[in-house]
């Protein structure tokens, strides 16, 4: 091989090597694109990224107010230039408002994060603005950057009262949602047991261990899911009124137990025999036999269709508010046991307290279900309004006439009861439906026990509904007991004081 040939071969090889190097460069560039397109956002947002933390700290996080302008949560500059978040609302607001600490943001704080951390200051470029700045340059240069504040729809006092009405042990704990049926504004949303976000740093580990029923951190009022029991009869009733002709005039024979072909027979609570009753009375005494019968007549599909108008079986998320998906199963006619039970809010039916408050609201508002809302307005750093949120119609769940019939039935429930609580509620011109639901409860050690949850959904006053509530008390027992008295007390306070 002479030098010429050798060089020729060498050049060919050099071209191969160049192609390989080019491919490697392209590979690096391709990976950079992948990094930018796929990984970047996730990595930048990781809690270990100190940059994010430093950037957040530049702007003083905005405050959260209740509907009447009372401060619920705010931030304070510390001497070391960090910020401290102070939770005035404490335990009563813990799950709803959430917390912001180091790398974790939860609840409403999370939903509002972009708003609370944005400083809307813009320099005034007019002549006056310049003169103003020349007079006092530090007002522009050294001003503290402040994020927007948010005015929620919550009512601090109502929320605190609601919190006090629940307790921390089984039989007293649970969740409450109160809303304005005409606007969808959420007035109170409470969970117990709770924790004090002010001492979170110290208590986090021990709180995290207590995982009873989804743990203390979860906003069960919106994100829990429970069998709604007899409160679900409101939906079965609405479906029956709409779809079964002459149902109001029909007389049912209630012998204490509904016999089914497949599955378990459906008894009344305590096996009480109600005899020959009409629909209105059946609703008032909460006859499982009658409502189980209605469910079988209606069929799973058409019962679920009515429930879906309220938001069941749909992933629902409202502005700044997430909720769990409520379930209304569609059992076929031949599974009549399950179908009957689903008509009384058992066997696969599940809902959050918020969902049931929406049911009460929709009926109270003559069939117009308003979109639940948590935030009324956003205020800039200087207190001027930046954005206002208007009530919106979510869905029309029934025509006015049918809705009003359900309304009178719910009023009748209260009026005909001999129970002391119901008598008190009748004085407020309240309406509602009790519920007792068999459910499961997970203890801290992980074991599940069977409990009987006590429910109440209702509204007041009947003529001009101001407030609709849903209350669930875990293992609150049979009858209208615990949940109803809490709901009554709340509605009493609200109608008298607001």
């Amino acid at each position: 091989m002479n030098e010429m040939e050798r060089k020729k071969a060498l050049n060919r090889n050099i071209k191969v090597i160049s192609a390989v190097i080019l491919a490697l460069f392209m590979g690096i560039m391709g990976y950079m694109l992948y990094f930018h397109g796929v990984q970047e956002e996730e990595i930048a947002a990781k809690p270990g990224n100190v940059r994010e933390q430093a950037k957040r700290n530049e702007i003083l996080r905005g405050a959260i107010f209740d509907r009447n302008g009372k401060v619920l949560t705010y931030s304070e500059r510390q001497s070391d230039n960090t910020q401290k978040r102070i939770y005035q609302g404490a335990e009563a607001f813990a799950q709803v408002l959430g917390y912001e600490q180091r790398n974790t943001v939860t609840g409403l704080e999370y939903a509002l994060d972009d708003i609370l951390t944005k400083d809307e200051f813009v320099f005034d470029f007019s002549k006056e603005g310049f003169l103003e700045m020349l007079k006092d340059p530090s007002s522009v240069l050294n001003r503290t950057k402040e994020g927007n504040s948010v005015v929620t729809t919550l009512d601090q006092e109502l929320q605190w009262r609601a919190y006090d009405l629940l307790g921390d042990e089984l039989g007293e704990k649970g969740a409450i949602v109160a809303m304005n049926p005409k606007t969808g504004e959420i007035l109170a949303m409470v969970n117990r047991p709770s924790y004090d976000p002010n001492g979170l740093k110290e208590n986090y580990a021990s709180l995290n261990e207590k995982q009873y029923d989804d743990g203390v951190f979860l906003n069960t009022a919106a994100r829990g899911s429970y069998a709604p029991g007899s409160t679900y009869k409101i939906i079965t009733l609405l479906a029956a009124l709409e779809k079964l002709d002459g149902i109001e005039e029909r007389t049912f024979k209630d012998n204490g137990k509904l016999d089914v072909n497949v599955g378990k027979d459906l008894p009344n609570v305590n096996g009480t025999i109600h005899g020959n009753i009409k629909l209105k009375e059946a609703f008032a005494v909460s006859s499982n036999v009658v409502f189980g019968t209605l469910a079988i007549e209606l069929g799973g599909e058409s019962l679920a269709e009515v429930a879906e108008r309220f938001g069941f079986n749909k992933e629902q998320s409202f502005p700044f508010l997430n909720m769990s998906t409520s379930k209304a199963p569609k059992y076929p006619k031949n599974e009549d046991g399950a179908l009957a039970a689903s008509g009384v809010g058992q066997t696969g039916v599940s809902a959050s307290p918020l969902q049931m408050a929406m049911v009460a609201s929709a009926i109270a508002n003559d069939g117009n279900l308003m979109t639940p809302m948590m935030v009324n307005s956003v205020l800039k750093y200087d207190g001027t309004q930046k954005e206002k949120f208007e009530p919106k119609l979510y869905n029309t769940v029934a025509d006015t006439e049918t809705a009003q019939t359900v309304k009178t039935y719910m009023k009748n429930n209260v009026d005909t009861s001999r129970n002391e609580t119901m008598k008190a509620l009748a004085k407020l011109r309240g309406a509602g439906k009790t519920g007792t639901a068999q459910d499961f409860y997970q203890k801290t050690d992980g074991t599940k026990i069977e409990v009987v949850n006590s429910w109440f959904v209702g509204f007041a006053p009947y003529e001009d509904p101001q407030i609709a509530v849903a209350v669930v008390v875990l293992d609150g027992g049979f009858g209208s007991g615990k949940a109803a008295s809490i709901a009554t007390e709340l509605m009493r306070w609200y109608t008298e004081n607001r």
Binding site: R6, K7, A9, V16, F25, I28, Y31, G48, R51
Partner: protein, 399 residues
């Protein structure tokens, strides 16, 4: 001719003053020092362009541009990180570019150097072995030698001897027998690097060796054999050396060890992820959290503050530089000089790929410098020396 030179200079001046003006205004008081530095570099770059184009117009006219742009970017970023380091780096830049120019002026025809094969062999072995015996450990690798008045990385000089040795021993390859000696030298060199825990350099030596052996022999079976030996060696070292296993472990799972072993990688990833396409702007990022930001990790600082697009442009500049280098290799009139050019081109290109790939966590991270941009005198000098040789080789085409 004259016009084209000026046209090449204008964008470089713009970039230089742009970067340093940017740095100067972000300081509380306008930083005149930054502008002075930009001025000094512009004069230097203009001078280099003038000399290379005016007196050595036969050679490559574009290489000098790349050789100017990359250090300017590096020095600007270093100045933003630590002005005193940037001043030292400017000195190294002056020394480097002077070396580059002097090589072109002083060196006679390079073909004369092909006969010193055994001198190169001894040089290679001495420099590769040096740090193993009298070295000190920096950033986990025992690859520095401190002679009291100066400290340097002997393997950087070793690289030059290594390429010269391979070029002279492979230039008239005939049979497998003639491959035995160079093969042993390659393995010994890599072996010393592994012993010194300098995995980055070990990889670079492996790539240079494979590329040059393939270029000289045109035998695919040798190529496969070298890759085979490389793979076996890599697997063996993986099982023998715990620090190699750790590198692989943190490469596969950087987030799990974010507070410990992979702290550096993770901080680099945060920095790059926070930069986005356009970067936060010089002086507006937070590179103080990135370890070894001045040398190995300077690429992460660039992505954070100057952005992904700018980083892309840097990669393109590196590739264009590689292209000019390879062009010289193709046009060289002897196999010896051609092989020299190939060796140095591959050395620089692979260094870019290995360190950027490592910083991106695309491949396991091995600490080596980003040529011409990272802080470091030895590395700067080595690269300028190699490029000076290539510049000299580029004259062969027309002479």
């Amino acid at each position: 001719m004259r016009d084209s030179k000026i046209r090449m200079l204008m964008p470089i001046f713009l970039l230089t003053f742009g970067l340093f003006f940017n740095i100067a205004i972000f300081q509380p008081v306008f930083d005149i020092g930054a502008m002075v530095m930009a001025g000094v570099m512009c004069v230097l770059i203009a001078y280099a362009h003038f000399v290379i184009n005016k007196f050595f117009g036969n050679g490559d006219k574009f290489l000098v541009t790349f050789v100017s742009v990359l250090p300017v970017i590096g020095i600007a970023v270093l100045y933003r990180l630590n002005p005193s380091i940037a001043i030292k780096q400017v000195l190294w830049f002056i020394i480097g570019i002077s070396t580059y120019i002097s090589l072109v002026i002083v060196l006679p025809d390079l073909k004369r150097f092909m006969k010193f094969r055994y001198l190169y062999l001894v040089g290679t072995v001495v420099f590769m072995a040096m740090a193993t015996f009298i070295g000190e450990t920096r950033y986990g690798a025992k690859n520095w030698v401190d002679l009291g008045f100066i400290s340097f990385q002997p393997s950087e000089f070793g690289k030059i001897f290594f390429v010269f040795y391979l070029a002279s021993s492979l230039k008239d390859f005939k049979t497998l027998k003639s491959l035995i000696e160079p093969g042993i030298i390659v393995l010994v060199s890599i072996g010393f690097m592994v012993l010194q825990r300098d995995l980055g350099s070990a990889m670079i030596f492996a790539f240079i060796g494979i590329a040059m052996i393939f270029a000289a022999t045109s035998k695919v079976k040798y190529l496969l054999a070298s890759f085979g030996i490389g793979a076996v060696g890599a697997v063996l070292s993986y099982f023998i050396f715990p620090h190699i296993r750790r590198r692989v472990m943190i490469w596969r799972n950087p987030w799990e060890y974010a507070q410990n072993e992979s702290y550096q990688i993770v901080q680099g990833l945060y920095a790059m992820a926070s930069g986005g396409l356009f970067g936060s702007g010089l002086g507006h990022g937070a590179p103080q959290y990135i370890p070894v930001r001045e040398s190995d990790y300077i690429f992460a600082v660039i992505v954070e503050e100057l952005g992904m697009i700018f980083a892309f442009l840097i990669l393109i500049i590196y590739f264009l530089m590689f292209y000019r280098n390879i062009r010289s290799a193709l046009k060289a009139t002897s196999t010896f000089t051609s092989l020299l050019a190939v060796g140095f081109s591959v050395m620089i290109a692979m260094q870019v790929i290995v360190i950027i790939g490592g910083v991106l966590n695309m491949i396991p991270l091995t600490g080596i410098t980003l040529p011409l941009i990272s802080y470091g005198g030895t590395s700067m000098l080595t690269v300028f020396f190699s490029l000076g040789i290539i510049q000299k080789i580029s004259e062969e085409a027309t002479s």
